[in-house]
Symmetry: C2
Subunit: 445 residues, 2 copies
């Protein structure tokens, strides 16, 4: 029997996992959820919440993460959650996807959650969404990102839609229709970097997924095969054909959440800048200061710095996407802090200083989980060079569970050890988790 590509994906998504696989992959999904909640709480402190209150016409600060409210529709909540979780650009990344899985997928799932849903179902739906995002990303990237698309918005819309379908246990043909209506909304431009448009892309993707799910639930129809090799969302955007055998063989072997896995960010700037940051830290430790350098050359592989779009930032906020700005900060005062990325102009003198740092693209292309960089510092007649291939937090040098908890504990009054214990007992209801987040203590219901 032949199946169309989308029905094949829907069938794969709805397979019941064996318990061993599930337990193993749950571990990664729990780490993702803790990091997501932490990013959400920090984002909520950082964003101008008044803007959202005005947009929705209600006091957002009092809303919290919630499954039941008459104040906002599920699509509106998805938009809010996705925006806030991605606001600081601190949230996790998956290398094949080239996007931020948790901000989109967990936001969409929480927006359609019912109070009695079980945490283990939330985790499995997330794992399934990450799988779909990673598999699609393998085919579409890097061309997709190079062309200017923000994978978090595009692929993210479909991945979150798939995750919702798994979570709500729809039929295979409903799942295909949900993916289809998400695909015809899927969008997002990388050029929004440096503005609210970037985190909005994550919110729009979560909204698109929830909207697709609600429309299909209400009986709306959709093109049956958005992943077809001709006349489809997939063929419009992809330069590689969809190969059914390859999808069957590689699906959850290993899980995309396990390998290449999730990349957790330790700093609130673009993860593509982490290797350059590490190299600059090494130089600082050896006593090199920016004022000593005649010139600084950052060597990358071709397109290795594609996400770092700001070569000449005018605002400190743009520094999140500028390796020049980050290196300059580290070699001037030893590190970067959240306050270094405020929406404040750089003086013309500061902008002038940054021009001393230039990029070259002469390193060999590495694996998708590596972001190799070579930092060359020219001090009078002497040249120092610092090479970094693997960053701490990346799948090849992952954070420990303890480090993830410690990062999360910095975000609020909540002791994230409590959340970790809750998640380990994943038969619990989602309400328990959300009550703990909203009130900073475990609800004893």
């Amino acid at each position: 029997m032949t199946m169309n590509n989308t029905d094949l994906v829907s069938t794969l998504l709805l397979q019941i996992p064996d318990s061993k696989t599930r337990v193993r992959l749950n571990h990664f999904a729990r780490r993702g959820l803790i990091n997501y909640l932490s990013c959400y709480l920090q984002g909520m402190e950082a964003v101008n919440v008044e803007r959202f209150s005005q947009y929705f016409g209600i006091d957002i600060r009092r809303l919290g993460l919630t499954t039941t409210t008459n104040l906002l529709s599920s699509s509106q909540r998805a938009l809010l959650y996705g925006f806030v979780a991605h606001y600081l650009d601190l949230d996790d990344v998956q290398a094949n996807f080239r996007g931020h899985p948790s901000a989109v997928i967990y936001s969409a799932l929480l927006a359609v959650s019912n109070p009695n849903d079980r945490l283990e179902d939330l985790l499995w739906a997330y794992i399934s969404g990450v799988e779909f995002a990673g598999q699609l990303g393998k085919l579409l990237n890097p061309n997709h990102a190079i062309q200017g698309w923000h994978s978090t918005g595009t692929i993210g819309s479909l991945a979150a839609a798939a995750a919702i379908g798994v979570y709500r246990n729809v039929t295979s043909s409903q799942l295909s229709a949900i993916i289809s209506l998400a695909s015809t909304q899927a969008s997002g431009q990388l050029s929004q970097e440096g503005s609210d448009g970037k985190p909005l892309n994550a919110g729009f993707a979560a909204r698109n997924a929830v909207c697709a799910y609600s429309l299909v639930s209400a009986g709306f129809s959709a093109n049956r095969d958005p992943l077809a090799n001709q006349n489809s969302w997939f063929s419009t955007l992809s330069q590689s054909p969809f190969n059914q055998q390859a999808w069957i063989a590689s699906w959850m072997h290993p899980g995309q959440i396990e390998s290449p896995g999730l990349w957790f960010k330790t700093h609130a700037f673009c993860s593509a800048a982490l290797s350059g940051y590490d190299a600059a830290k090494q130089a600082w430790k050896e006593g090199i200061k920016f004022s000593d350098c005649n010139q600084i050359i950052v060597h990358y592989p071709p397109h290795g710095d594609a996400a770092l779009t700001q070569t000449h930032p005018k605002m400190r906020l743009d520094g999140k996407f500028s390796i020049e700005y980050i290196i300059w900060q580290v070699l001037t005062k030893g590190d970067v802090h959240a306050t270094d990325f405020a929406n404040i102009s750089l003086t013309s003198e500061e902008q002038e200083q940054l021009t001393r740092i230039v990029r070259q693209h002469d390193l060999p292309i590495g694996s998708p989980t590596q972001r190799p960089v070579s930092l060359e510092l020219i001090i009078k007649s002497k040249v120092s060079r610092f090479d970094v291939k693997v960053q701490h937090g990346s799948p090849e040098d992952p954070l420990t569970d303890e480090e993830i908890i410690n990062l999360a504990n910095k975000s609020s009054e909540i002791h994230f050890e409590t959340i970790q214990t809750l998640l380990n007992n994943s038969h619990q209801s989602i309400t328990r988790l959300l009550t703990t987040i909203n009130h900073g203590q475990e609800d004893v219901q």
Copy 2:
């Protein structure tokens, strides 16, 4: 002083028109509005309104076209209006845009209207949106459509956003931001044809525009130049550069709403089938019947029938995209009616009859506003041929105002002459128009 591309467009959009131009172009906008309202009313009768009632959780039938309601947000109303107006595929088309302007732009404008807004401002905002859609379409098409994008959804999102900005009289920099947040949501796949996904694309575009406007109004920021020649929405999708001088020179000279102008559809089937329909009507008038014909050959230019995807329809509904089905209907009973496109199977005998009609692609390629066809009917040893180049309703053979009113009068109990009188006195408020539509009579307030 140099301006970025988007700021230039925003400045052009916000120019105050001279009254002569305005009066001339208003004429076309009024025709578009009458046709839009007629399509909306027919769509509302045709769609399964229960689906929408379930989706929104309220009784949609009782809502009407409204500016003030606590029941739905403005984004939700934009989605509903766009979907309903495009549902029958009866709504107007603009050739450069290659999309349906009114379903997207009027839907977005009505969704953000205030009761006391004046009709003349609504009309001018619409004219401005059509201008932007046509200018963008000139640069992006035909590649954009050939690649699989549904211009109604993609370009439509930006055009509706621009129209809202003009309508609400925002500043130039706000207008750029609104266009930017619409661009990062802009999407829509042509492959949704034949499903609810197609009219949903019009609804999504209207929603995207309203959402962008509301977000910017609440203070959210966006990338400043989505129409830049590098790293932008425009550069991601376009193969032709944006030329500022060309935009300045051609802006509203002539208005895109005037030339190539709006194409009004006289039947609820794909407009690509209209020329074949006209030829079949000529044959019927000369007394030729399907039962007399041994074979029927429909001659097109190469790709002239690309949108007519159904050569062997199995359902009457698929007949909307089948020239064979439409010719068979006309030569059997003199015309086609809305009921001929119900979701009902064709018998195997009927399907067999349709195989007597074949296509050939041997005509020269015509202009974008023409859809040439040559219908060849073989009756025993005699051959009759009917050539049609220009269809009635197209910009080269436009409907008269009276014909547009007559078409509209078929759609409901409303006498559209009343609407026409209202629109001619365009200092009136929008509430007056909507009350007339909702209650079938003019409100005397």
